[in-house]
């Protein structure tokens, strides 16, 4: 994806991986969660969802920018990735976000009928719908993926939908594949059902071609 460098909400709260120790100073906000993150979700450290948001440059990204300018408060759990249009998204990228350990993924595009490229957001809509079925097949709750539509003037709405998505994912608990998927056999034997996920392996994926 062309614009895969991530953008944190410019002014907004910095994405702080709550589930990690204080030493986890992130080098740069990246769509991938850090490697080797041991994260025993215990009662003492409540679950903080990690979200990845794919934002259309023409609307949602501008709205997030505005939210920052307006100093609106919203949860810091989301990493933003700017796209030229949500139509640029493909199923592989959405799945990759989950592979890399996201608990939830948001797609935010223009309002229907207002796509800068006419139909990109509609393409994204049907793709998101399809990827939800793929997620169900691998055993990940489809609700962890959601698409929103908003205009560039909707700073407050951006803050609101992030809040909504964080609540939704918080309700679902950690992703069943949290911690990322190891593409190497090395040392990985993740246990199921402990919520936090034990996968310790590298998140490096062989998928890169």
């Amino acid at each position: 994806m062309a614009e895969s460098t991530s953008h944190a909400a410019p002014q907004g709260p910095k994405p702080t991986p709550k589930d990690q120790g204080p030493q986890a100073a992130r080098p740069k906000p990246a769509p991938e969660p850090t490697t080797n993150n041991q994260e025993p979700t215990t009662a003492s450290s409540p679950f903080e969802p990690r979200l990845v948001a794919f934002l259309c440059h023409y609307c949602a990204f501008a709205a997030a920018d505005m939210a920052g300018s307006m100093r609106l408060q919203y949860p810091p759990n989301v990493r933003n990735i700017r796209l030229p249009c949500t139509g640029k998204l493909d199923a592989g990228q959405l799945l990759r976000a989950f592979e890399e350990g996201a608990d939830g993924v948001m797609v935010a595009g223009c309002e229907e009928g207002s796509c800068h490229f006419l139909k990109g957001n509609l393409v994204a809509k049907s793709r998101v719908k399809w990827v939800k079925t793929l997620l169900a097949q691998v055993g990940i709750e489809p609700e962890r993926l959601h698409m929103y539509n908003l205009s560039s003037a909707m700073g407050p709405r951006w803050a609101a939908i992030v809040q909504e998505m964080v609540e939704r994912v918080r309700g679902l608990g950690p992703s069943p594949v949290r911690g990322g998927v190891s593409a190497t056999t090395s040392s990985k034997a993740g246990r199921v059902g402990d919520g936090g996920g034990q996968a310790a392996g590298s998140i490096k994926s062989e998928a890169t071609k």
Binding site: G92, S182, K188, A207
Partner: protein
């Protein structure tokens, strides 16, 4: 093009369950065009397999590679390295690609991730339909350019069968009656007289009934070729 459809995911999971390292092998030609087995689909399938394995606590390493065509030796060679690194190959090429892969890599398990459906056309984005049944002896001159072998559920050569109504096939209203189309087209072309010709029983030896088929063009074969190894 050859139109394929990925096997149901849970079936694929079963196919690979005894292997720890697999290669999802895509094919960049027909099945790529119909979004079933190309580079993108290989990536998606590999992602899904990783996620599923992780979710269920099964160790699994998934490599991916897509070559131009799995039905040509030259391109298969490009996969040799990765094939060497895995326990099994999950090919999402058509049946030809899958078999040729197994033929090239004799000591490797090659599994099918795709069902090869038919030779067809793109009706519109996301919709493909069969047009040719590869009978090996084309009769389209007699049938207004519409094939009764592929497009009649009973491959009648002197149809329609009487089960069609309103131009739709008795098997399903979502399908046109091939013979209704033939009659319509012949009429439009002013050649309805062709309809009165009785097409005689076919010689099906050119179809699959004659055994495995092969085409040889001596003029194209490499002359004086020195066999490697």
């Amino acid at each position: 093009m050859i139109v394929g459809e990925q096997k149901p995911f849970e079936q694929i999971v079963k196919l690979i369950e005894r292997y720890k390292r697999i290669l999802v092998a895509g094919c960049g030609t027909c099945v790529s065009v119909c979004f079933a087995g190309g580079e993108k689909e290989a990536g998606i399938l590999a992602s899904m397999l990783r996620l599923e394995a992780q979710k269920n606590g099964r160790p699994l390493e998934v490599l991916e590679q897509t070559v131009k065509r799995q039905c040509d030796r030259e391109f298969l060679e490009e996969m040799a390295t990765k094939v060497g690194q895995v326990d099994a190959v999950l090919s999402i090429a058509c049946g030809c690609g899958i078999q040729f892969m197994a033929e090239r890599f004799q000591d490797k398990i090659v599994l099918p991730g795709l069902n090869t459906r038919f030779i067809g056309v793109t009706l519109e984005q996301g919709e493909w339909a069969e047009r040719c049944a590869m009978c090996g002896d084309c009769i389209l001159d007699r049938t207004g350019g519409i094939c009764p072998v592929a497009r009649c559920a009973k491959r009648l050569h002197n149809g329609p069968c009487g089960g069609s109504s309103g131009g739709k096939c008795e098997v399903g209203k979502d399908r046109d009656c091939g013979w209704a189309l033939i009659v319509q087209r012949l009429q439009k072309l002013g050649e309805l007289d062709r309809y009165s010709e009785i097409l005689p029983p076919r010689n099906w030896t050119t179809s699959r009934d004659g055994g495995q088929r092969k085409v040889v063009r001596e003029d194209l074969k490499e002359q004086g070729r020195i066999e490697p190894r």
